[in-house]
Amino acid sequence: MSEWTAIGALAVIAVLIPLSMMFASWLIRPSVPEQGKRATYESGEIPTGNTYQIRFNIQYYMIALLFVVFDVETIFIIPWTVIFEDAVETVGLVDAFLPMIVFVGTLVIALAWAWRKGAVQWTKSPRAERQRME
């Protein structure tokens, strides 16, 4: 019995459950094709402009960039945690621990640099600052 057969089976069931709910709902729900209610919800106001053109804070980009770095790093940490105890017994504490300290240390220095540059801090846009002065 392969473990992945069971996981695949649950994946199939996990998709079938929402699909069957959608089907059940499609059977019993009413359809009133009136167009007024289809307007985008903007707290009762008439919607203005397009959502896909609104400008948002570049902050989110910096955080995503940092995330990629640390997420890749986590992938390297996972196998290290698995073999760590055995590695200490075979090659000793220093040889098992020191390379990871150097590797993570490099990235922690990078985090400190990003921290100093204000990448992990919420910055206000110059325009918002100006508007506050006025």
């Binding site: 929402p18 729900r29 985008t40």
Partner: protein, 346 residues
């Protein structure tokens, strides 16, 4: 022995067909358990808990203690009209609820629930459960982007920022327990925790990782609250600020699926905590499955408790807590744990 193997023993035929049928039957059983928990939690337990915190009675008219609302509300929500707002990005808008609900159910594939209810036990179990749990972020982004609604868009962006900030501490703390167990296999992690930590006369305290490393347990609980998006980290929804965030434009069955996904996600978070910190289904006197239910419901109660009593953090505070606080503490936890384990092993 995992559940499909047990089921296969009862089947009149074996071979490849028997394997697939057994796997499907076992997967259905596990899904039924998950769906039953979510059904009790969503329309009933959540309301009752919130009502108890705010000194109200809440659902009480239909059935004993209002339990009939589970059926009544399911029918009510499913029979509502599905309103498709103008300008939605159609395939993505329809897929988002599906992605959220499906990924949350899939996470339970490797969770040991006691009494042999354990669907699969691959060697990469812990990595798999974190991987499937984080697919939900994708669903949130799809829902936020495809709705063509400014509140949804902001909610989707917040969801990304939040999940990115708390995913790394969650993983680092989660994998710090692997230093003790030396394996990603769920059954192995649970087995290591069943050893005795200290004996106090007749009572022996098991070596649950929450007792071995309470600091990691605390960090994981905080990061998990952010991961499931409950107070103080419920910014993606934030009722008072952005209406309902990414789910503003969803109605009818899609609304049900979004909420179903969220509730199963809370239970999945609870199940991960129960497995890697609270000894999985282990416990005295009662059968393992009952203990598993007690643990995930206790952790569900904890999220609802936080939801009722803790104020929401601001988005700038969220980023600072995540990147400056939790991430640094998670690294410290990983290295201090590794140091202790290494010195003990050397």
């Amino acid at each position: 022995m995992t559940l499909p193997v047990t089921v296969e023993g009862y089947l009149p035929f074996d071979g490849a067909a028997g394997e697939v049928v057994a796997a499907l039957i076992a997967a259905t059983l596990v899904s039924v358990i998950i769906m039953a928990n979510a059904a009790v939690a969503g329309p009933w337990a959540k309301r009752k808990i919130t009502a108890a915190f705010t000194d109200r009675i809440a659902v009480s008219k239909i059935g004993p203690m209002g339990l009939g609302y589970i059926i009544v509300d399911s029918v009510r929500l499913l029979s509502k009209e599905l309103i498709v707002p103008e300008g939605v990005d159609r395939p993505a808008w329809d897929l988002a609820p599906l992605v959220l609900a499906s990924s949350a159910i899939l996470g339970f594939a490797v969770i040991p629930m006691g009494n042999g209810i354990h669907l699969a036990d691959p060697e990469v179990g812990l990595a798999l459960v974190f991987a499937t749990a984080s697919i939900a972020s994708l669903g949130l982004v799809m829902a936020g982007y495809a709705s063509n609604n400014k509140y949804s868009f902001l909610g989707g962006l917040r969801a990304v920022a939040q999940n990115l900030a708390y995913e790394i501490p969650l993983l680092l703390v989660g994998f710090s327990v692997v230093l003790f167990s030396g394996s990603l296999q769920m059954s192995e992690i649970v087995a290591v925790q069943s050893q005795t930590l200290v004996s106090l006369g007749p009572v022996s305290i098991p070596a649950w990782f929450a007792f071995l490393n309470p600091f990691a347990f605390l960090l994981f609980m905080i990061a998990n609250l952010a991961e499931v998006g409950r107070n103080p980290f419920d910014l993606p929804e934030a009722g008072q600020e952005i209406v309902a965030g990414f789910q503003t434009e969803y109605s009818s069955v899609y609304f049900v699926l979004l909420y179903l996904g969220e509730f199963i996600h809370i239970f999945l978070g609870g199940a991960i905590i129960a497995t890697i910190f609270l000894g999985g289904p282990a416990g005295p006197v009662l059968p393992g499955f009952i203990w598993f239910l007690i643990k995930i419901w206790a952790l569900f109660l904890f999220t609802q408790w936080c939801r009722s009593i803790v104020p929401r953090v601001r988005i700038d505070q969220l980023i600072q807590i995540g990147w400056k606080g939790l991430l640094v503490l998670a690294f410290a936890n990983l290295f201090v744990t590794a140091g202790i384990v290494g010195v003990l092993a050397a």
